[in-house]
């Protein structure tokens, strides 16, 4: 065995090498509370209700907030990641125009999860659909399968990601519903940023939540309800 090998071995095997990394006596405070250690609950189903009547054409605040929160460049080229987009709709016969934000709909029966060959696309028990980038091989099947065009592929190496939002080249990504905020009791950045309170975030399963009450009392739609995916994001006024 060469000298280097022996040293490597000793470094791992004995505590002699510890001198180099020996920790000074003292204590340390864990200064970030990461969220609930008990994990996501299957009693909950997170969703959003989007009131298109209040959404302003030309306003892009939700998109800007998402880009800032998740470290997206903000570019809109075919190879740029976009987790949320503003869409302008026009009914040709009446001339009525609607503006709305569109993002991953967090389907109850997500086709992206069905087609993923590696189990990287998955739905958390609380209804949030995510990509496990440790497993994603970048095949992009999910991008083809998603009827809402919600997913993006990362083409270039990234630097300086948000410590709470890991993203990297060769993997697919989409709206996470700001899962890192939700797990700390917060709400998605887009919902927080909207100046017109268009985006209502909440638990669809909790009968007393504002979102559940609204869904009970107002008319709302699921986009492409004909596909029976039962999205967690619902729209009013279209």
């Amino acid at each position: 065995m060469s000298e280097i090998d022996t040293q490597r071995r000793n470094f791992l095997k004995t505590s002699a090498g510890a001198a180099a990394v020996l920790i000074a006596p003292g204590f340390m405070l864990f200064d970030i509370a990461h969220g609930k250690p008990q994990g996501a609950s299957n009693k909950v189903r997170w969703g959003m209700l989007i009131d298109t009547a209040k959404c302003k054409s030309g306003c892009n605040d939700c998109v800007t907030a998402c880009n800032r929160e998740n470290g997206l460049s903000g570019g809109t080229a075919a190879t740029d990641s976009q987790w949320i987009r503003k869409i302008e709709l026009k009914d040709i016969s009446s001339g009525r125009e609607v503006s709305l934000p569109m993002m991953c709909q967090h389907c109850e029966n997500p086709p992206c999860v069905d087609v993923c060959p590696t189990n990287a696309s998955f739905k958390r028990v609380d209804g949030i659909v995510l990509v496990d980038k440790h497993r994603c091989i970048g095949c992009r099947y999910c991008m083809m399968a998603c009827p809402y065009k919600a997913r993006s592929f990362v083409h270039e190496p990234l630097h300086d990601q948000n410590p709470d939002v890991p993203r990297g080249r060769g993997t697919v990504e989409s709206c996470t519903l700001c899962v890192h905020r939700i797990d700390q009791g917060g709400k998605p950045a887009c919902a927080e940023a909207c100046p017109n309170n268009v985006i209502l975030f909440g638990d669809l399963n909790d009968a007393d939540s504002e979102i559940a009450k609204k869904l009970r009392s107002l008319s709302s739609v699921q986009i492409r309800a004909d596909l029976h995916l039962n999205p967690g994001v619902r729209y009013q006024g279209i």
Binding site: V21, G39, P166
Partner: protein
């Protein structure tokens, strides 16, 4: 010929190694302090711990208050540049280089302290 080349290489390399007392990498351990397990255990097992924890955190939403990559970085990022990967003697890089084990956590994960990252973002 090959053997001769490697012999020459050994002759060049050997003195540098002989010159060191322990031959182990010198690391910038950052803030340091009491780790979640003892040093020797962590040295051998941190990868298993991280792998277990990543699945729990991402797939089940179980975000342990103590065991998390972000906490590793919180304590071990250099006090000079707030990073565990910025330099050859940074906490993660130093050992991984020495052990010749590819370190790809940081292709996706940030190697910076969150506080430093926030500061940098807000300065923009």
């Amino acid at each position: 010929m090959k053997r001769l080349a490697s012999l020459l290489l050994c002759l060049c390399v050997a003195p540098t190694w002989a010159g060191e007392v322990t031959g182990t990498p010198k690391l910038d351990i950052g803030r340091g302090g009491q780790c979640v397990e003892d040093t020797q255990w962590m040295r051998k097992n941190h990868m298993h711990m991280l792998k277990h924890q990543r699945d729990e955190a991402l797939r089940k939403g179980i975000r342990d208050e103590k065991i998390s990559l972000k906490n590793c970085i919180e304590c071990h990022a250099s006090m000079k540049d707030d990073s565990v990967i910025a330099r050859a003697d940074s906490f993660c890089v130093g050992c991984h280089k020495y052990e010749a084990v590819k370190l790809d956590c940081f292709e996706c994960h940030s190697g910076k302290r969150k506080s430093a990252w926030l500061q940098q973002r807000d300065a923009k």
